[in-house]
Symmetry: D2
Subunit: 343 residues, 4 copies
């Protein structure tokens, strides 16, 4: 069975696991007060070009989003997000549980447009009852999006500009950031992202670690008590050095980039395989998630030897499916998929 | 340097780590929908004698407490706890952040008394303004307590009885449960605890895993939507099988008991060493945390080659310190400590 | 100046005010423990035909919605509502502040359709990731809606049926309920509403009182600790008898019905006046709110001697406006409006 | 029957009620956008000597405390308060419901000491695990306290100083502020209070209005979005002018001072009556609440013709009771009480 269900099906990248094994019996202080965490923060500051950035490691994506958003917003504010955004759909109401509304914007294959953000804010304050409504207090985007699409540098600049014109922070959910950076079509760098976003996180769970997300706060006016917020949100790992060790490994020798490039390369092989088999992708994703509309008979056939994500019926005899690659996907996996497709 | 600061200074017990390494490249479904998690749940149901218990794995203690308590309480209710309880002091307000008050009871070396619980509830409902106050909706205790003390079976029965007489659940924080079960003086078993508590958790972080706590819900009327609650609290691990693998290892061959016994045995060696050196423990803890009042000069001397937890000054020339053992503490560590004490 | 801005521009209906004046110097217990509150509850139980209903008086609509919804929902649940619903738009995030998501449905002139509710719930549970999303835990509708439209008895039955088939309560926001009951086209009674809804409130603020809303809980399995919830939400009036006195007056001699009928009759006069002047209402509202699209020149002219609510531009030269009547609107007001329209 | 149960047993002071009656049929904009509210704000700014203060009217005390405290605190912060403080005991967990812990200090007949505040803050930041605990983010005191005691000007200065030295705001709950200002022994003025507190509220409910509390924000860096916060907390009155009319009446011609002085004068008559009858007050309250320890036989006798508040047994044959005066208490009431006491 070849598996393309998601990008969190294996443990850690072998280099990451090796580092955990190597350091396993060392004794260090807890809660991130250890040399590995310090080193990882420095490596990330260097990689992002933000010598002053605060870096904080959390365990998972939902808790990271909830902690950062709750820590930024005032009580009367909500967070702007694409209606397809992870926080708007798939976090069991974690944002609302901390007291904040998700203010949804239309999405275009997962992306929001700067002009829609601008329009929302302008119409909001033009409404004379605006104080009876939830004020837009920040913008959340995911890079890449839940549909695998990537904001271009120009789009990021526009979003950053509209946010800063209206004095609200831009927060980027980078759960799969490595696969956006690894996309051939990507025209932005981590350093450029760091200049444009006020806060973002570099996802580890889907890009080589057992777990872990690195929050980077480039706008130091925000999240001044991040440690306590993380603790309050139950997101502080006792053995914090596990995060330090893993991110040190990802960022010391270019592993993060290599993983991103690897996942994307194999995703492009999947894309081409389906194209050759006559199925165009339904979304122009250049990252590690690929979406196809396939005849149900083809799906049934593939399922004999492959697993992937079912997204629902489309028309009478077709369905939409998602194929995901990760650092652990191999060229042999794709060879087998091609064979299944009769190529 | 020998280190007794806390019980979360190393990675995972070698057997646990070995299991993670062995399974690292397997591909499984996420969020606990994997065979290891299923196996771990079964092993725990067996060990606790509760074939019907719901078992759920979370990452850390604070998030476990916040999730369980938030899921049990109605909006107008609070949680009874010792004023020294972890949720009352050291969780950055995580319980209040989910909307609930911690109703504090006096503590006796970390323990609460059934009669105090009874009195609180009786006085509460005897007050005719009780509807203006926060109702006691559950009882939280830790076993062992933050001071290393252990409730006897009789004490647990009394607490369980007073709770059930008043129709409120009893929840037991077992962050260090292994070290209570491993105490020579302990007269309760995991199966007995399961009969008396409505919900409790079996701590992994301090007892052999990299991270992870196993919530056991024996009263199935409670926490019916635990999965969603866990997700909402940001406590759902994407690669859930990491928890399954670790708890399977702890519970398949008695490792959990061995770790508990090991930690306690070395703690008792520390206790005896200090006693021989002329320092009685200030709390009668029979678990892996030991508390002493030492002259500051002795502390300074020990610090040259040992690290431990400083709890604050006591009188003019003394201070209170805590020594903690864990699965990774060795007899050689204690030998060295004895040497430092001049024994 | 004749004023049609809203239905909360004057104090209390003279009969209500007279009762407050008459009882002003009486001394009674606080927080609703007074004979007037008891009497008002009985009158409402009688009017609604629910001898067992719990009745509770709160001060305002937003706090009533927040208290009821927070008291009904479990932590992992949200409230279904029209995207135009008051709780979704104009309550400054009060629902989210208590931790719950508003799950929006399309609206049809303010109303939701039973089939959309059915579809939402079915699709929700058909999605295998539903535990990662916010579960629909209740349905909120307003009767009449924010657009003045009224659910027919048949529509209410359908909504009640779909809710109860899926075991979620139906909650009706009756801020302007009197004006729905007073609509000539209305084919439902208060008693029928009480059979179909699990909880609803009878609005006083816009229908004759200085302030005050009467929550009626017909499904006694819900909101068992309503008093404490009301207190916790800051919605418990110290001088609770002010609410008792006012609702006793509204319900002792048919005043509530008279006010509703009066407001609607004058609203129908407004409607006819605009129709005669050539402007059809843009929404078929038969209650006390009327919506028209008027040329801006007409609006400017009317504004010389009348005030009303501006809802925004429509096209190049038109705008939408809202005219609202209440118990204090007089036939003379409408005569003047007709004159302004050149009738 | 003469009644001394509480200070919210009647409606409004006749002058206040007269103003409500006089203005009842006027039509004004809602939510405080009316000339009466504007006038009341100006009168209060003048009375407090703070030309720049923001003034906002809410309905009741619990909602005022919850709104102000929630609006001031960051997510990781709690509010310091006497363990006897209203927010710590009698608000059904409203503070916790908004996510914040009440950090309790010892009380001395209801008051806190500046040195205890200082000690709490110093010990908090001296604890190296302070980031795991809830940070003290503001101080709440009540003036007068729940026990009728009054902070002297010197005590207020000390509290203000310790707060501002540690950069946390001082918030004063003035539910009964009129009776503190009216105490003969009081040595502070409203203007002085305004210089020392960052925020406070002037209670109306217990001092002459039907309902209503006036929040005064003298530190304009705080609570910048107070209107939306008030709305979100369900504390925004639709017919806001009812609050404007009432507070205009209280502050236009010295009525607030007269009510305070009246209530206190009669409370002092009660005190002297009990002293002459042989019962010293158990708390040295110089405001409108008086506390006595009486033999149960005396209490039973008094209850034949008087009502008052029972605070619980004291010893075998005695109990503690509370007598409260208000603007509606008369000299004849006290004459009758004296007769009951056999004077």
């Amino acid at each position: 069975m070849i598996r393309f269900d998601s990008d969190y099906m294996a443990g850690a990248h072998p280099e990451v696991l090796e580092a955990l094994v190597r350091t396993n019996m060392e004794l260090t202080a807890g809660y991130g007060n250890d040399p590995y965490t310090t080193e990882a923060k420095e490596l990330i500051r260097k990689a992002t070009g933000c010598a002053d950035a605060e870096v904080m490691f959390l365990v998972g994506g939902t808790q990271t989003n909830a902690t950062v958003i709750d820590g930024i917003l005032s009580r009367h504010e909500g967070v702007l997000a694409a209606e397809s955004g992870h926080i708007a759909v798939h976090e069991s109401g974690a944002i609302e549980a901390s007291g904040h509304k998700v203010l949804t914007l239309p999405h275009y294959d997962g992306k929001v447009k700067a002009e829609d953000v601008e329009q929302f804010i302008e119409e909001f304050y033009a409404d004379e009852t605006y104080q009876h409504m939830v004020a837009p207090g920040m913008l959340y985007i995911s890079q890449p999006t839940e549909y695998g699409t990537v904001y271009s540098l120009e789009e990021l600049k526009q979003l950053s500009e509209v946010c800063h014109n209206h004095d609200i922070p831009l927060y980027v959910d980078g759960a799969r950031l490595g696969y956006a950076l690894g996309a051939e079509s990507a025209d932005f760098t981590l350093k450029e992202l760091s200049q444009l976003a006020d806060v973002y996180y570099i996802g580890g769970t889907k890009v080589g670690t057992l777990f872990g997300e690195a929050v980077v706060v480039t706008n130091r006016k925000l999240l001044k008590n991040l440690f306590s917020l993380v603790k309050q949100h139950g997101a502080l790992l006792a053995k914090g050095r596990l995060l330090g060790v893993q991110f040190t490994t990802l960022f010391r020798n270019g592993l993060y980039e290599r993983i991103g490039a690897h996942g994307v390369r194999l995703a492009m092989r999947i894309r081409k395989a389906f194209e050759r088999a006559g199925y165009e992708p339904i979304i122009d994703s250049r990252t590690n998630q690929q979406f196809f509309r396939l005849p149900n008979s083809v799906i049934d056939n593939l399922r004999q030897e492959a697993s992937f994500d079912y997204w629902g019926p489309r028309g009478e005899v077709d369905s939409v499916v998602r194929f995901v690659t990760s650092w652990y996907t191999t060229d042999e996996d794709i060879d087998k998929l091609e064979a299944l497709l009769g190529l």
